[in-house]
């Protein structure tokens, strides 16, 4: 029984009793950059979650005073942690850019009967990103 039949998909008709079905390879996403990009984009969620957890831990140690925060910093100085953070940074960047680029496809904004151009919708996301990042940087570095 093929996976299709097992899941109860439409079965054969009277006139075609013997169909040939190909199985989907487990590595279907490796052959093509477009599919690989999709899988990497999905995978990036894990790194986004990791980034959130680390940030929460950082805030938590900050709330427990300077010594706790120094201990946190010490732990983060580990070369393994730095390598992991570098990979996480790349994936979070990839996550952000790919989703911003896809945003106009899901969002249809109409102004005066005309659809607002894709560049404008994606662009506004990037502008918001830049403004928020700049204000966070200003807050920390001032």
């Amino acid at each position: 029984m093929t996976p299709h039949e097992a899941k109860g998909a439409t079965q054969y008709t009277t006139y075609h009793p013997r169909w040939y079905r190909t199985r989907v390879s487990t590595y279907w996403w490796l052959g093509k950059w477009y599919y690989l990009k999709f899988v990497l984009r999905e995978l990036s969620s894990i790194f986004v979650a990791y980034f959130v957890v680390i940030t929460l831990l950082q805030i938590h140690s900050l709330s427990r005073g300077p010594e706790a925060y120094a201990r946190f910093e010490e732990r983060m100085r580990n070369p393994l942690m730095i390598a992991l953070d570098a990979i996480t940074f790349l994936f979070v960047l990839f996550h952000t850019i790919t989703w911003f680029n896809l945003a106009p496809r899901a969002m249809v904004v109409r102004l005066g009967g005309k659809r607002v151009s894709e560049i404008l919708i994606a662009g506004s996301n990037y502008v918001a990103w830049l403004v928020i990042s700049a204000s966070v940087a200003w807050f920390i570095l001032r």
Binding site: T13, H16, W19, Y20, T22, Y34, R105, R110, G113
Partner: protein, 247 residues
């Protein structure tokens, strides 16, 4: 001697073969020939037993979709010159069961298409004497892109979700449901929502986006599905906030 090009074509005879094989054909190479012209040449001059679907040869009927070098393509709009001098591999549309050679079984798509009710639904039909349902150019513009679908099923062959979960309603059927949902004359959005908001409907889609890339009519089914997800999420939220609201 005139230039030629090699074609590797899937052959499968349900009566004789356990699995499909490839057969090589040498056909004349002409700059103005599309893959479908080469298949017609094979059928006319080399092997009359080759089976494949085609009709209009001008990108309207949606019959001649096949895998050309692994990509879902309308063979009537795919020029040999794009691949020459390399061989061109022609296979039946991916993820569909093969009936014979390049012919796939498409009942699954037809059943799904019908299930999403892609027609105008009215709560109360106007009488003929009352005249047509009028629409402004702006109202037409809202859904026109989605109405360009020719049911060629290339988007299904591009969709790994459909390949892995055959119960998935699929890109074209959802895009066509959305085409009627946003038609100003239609009142059936609620009826379609019950079908499409199931897991096998819009929520099975993971936004791979390849359906939109391969669509020969620039329908953007991936966009249609994401837009529909947004609508469904808003509806769900509304019903949560105002459970007493009119259904």
């Amino acid at each position: 001697m005139a230039e030629t090009i090699q074609l590797e074509v899937t052959r499968y005879s349900p009566e004789h073969d356990a699995a499909p094989t490839f057969q090589r054909f040498e056909v004349p190479y002409r700059k103005d020939w599309v893959v479908l012209d080469a298949l017609n040449y094979i059928k006319d001059k080399l092997d009359g037993s080759l089976s494949y679907r085609w009709s209009c040869r001008m990108g309207i009927c949606g019959s001649c979709g096949m895998m050309v070098n692994g990509e879902p393509k309308l063979t009537c709009a795919t020029f040999l010159s794009f691949y020459a001098p390399d061989a061109v591999r022609v296979e039946p549309l991916r993820y569909f069961p093969v009936v014979r050679d390049l012919v796939v079984e498409m009942t699954d798509f037809m059943v799904k298409l019908q299930k999403v009710k892609p027609w105008i639904i009215r709560k109360e039909e106007k009488s003929i004497a009352d005249g047509e349902y009028l629409q402004t150019p702006q109202q037409l513009d809202v859904y026109k892109q989605f109405s360009m679908c020719i049911n060629c099923m290339l988007c299904y062959a591009a969709c790994p979700v459909y390949g892995l979960d055959p119960l998935f309603t699929g890109p074209a059927a959802i895009a066509l449901a959305q085409r009627y949902n946003i038609d100003s004359r239609d009142q059936g959005a609620k009826e379609r929502m019950d079908i499409l908001s199931q897991h096998e409907g819009i929520w099975a889609c993971t936004f791979v986006g390849e359906c939109t890339e391969v669509c020969p009519k620039h329908v953007d089914p991936a966009g249609a599905i994401q837009q529909y997800k947004l609508t469904a999420a808003k509806e769900w939220f509304k019903s949560l906030l105002m459970p007493w609201g009119a259904k």
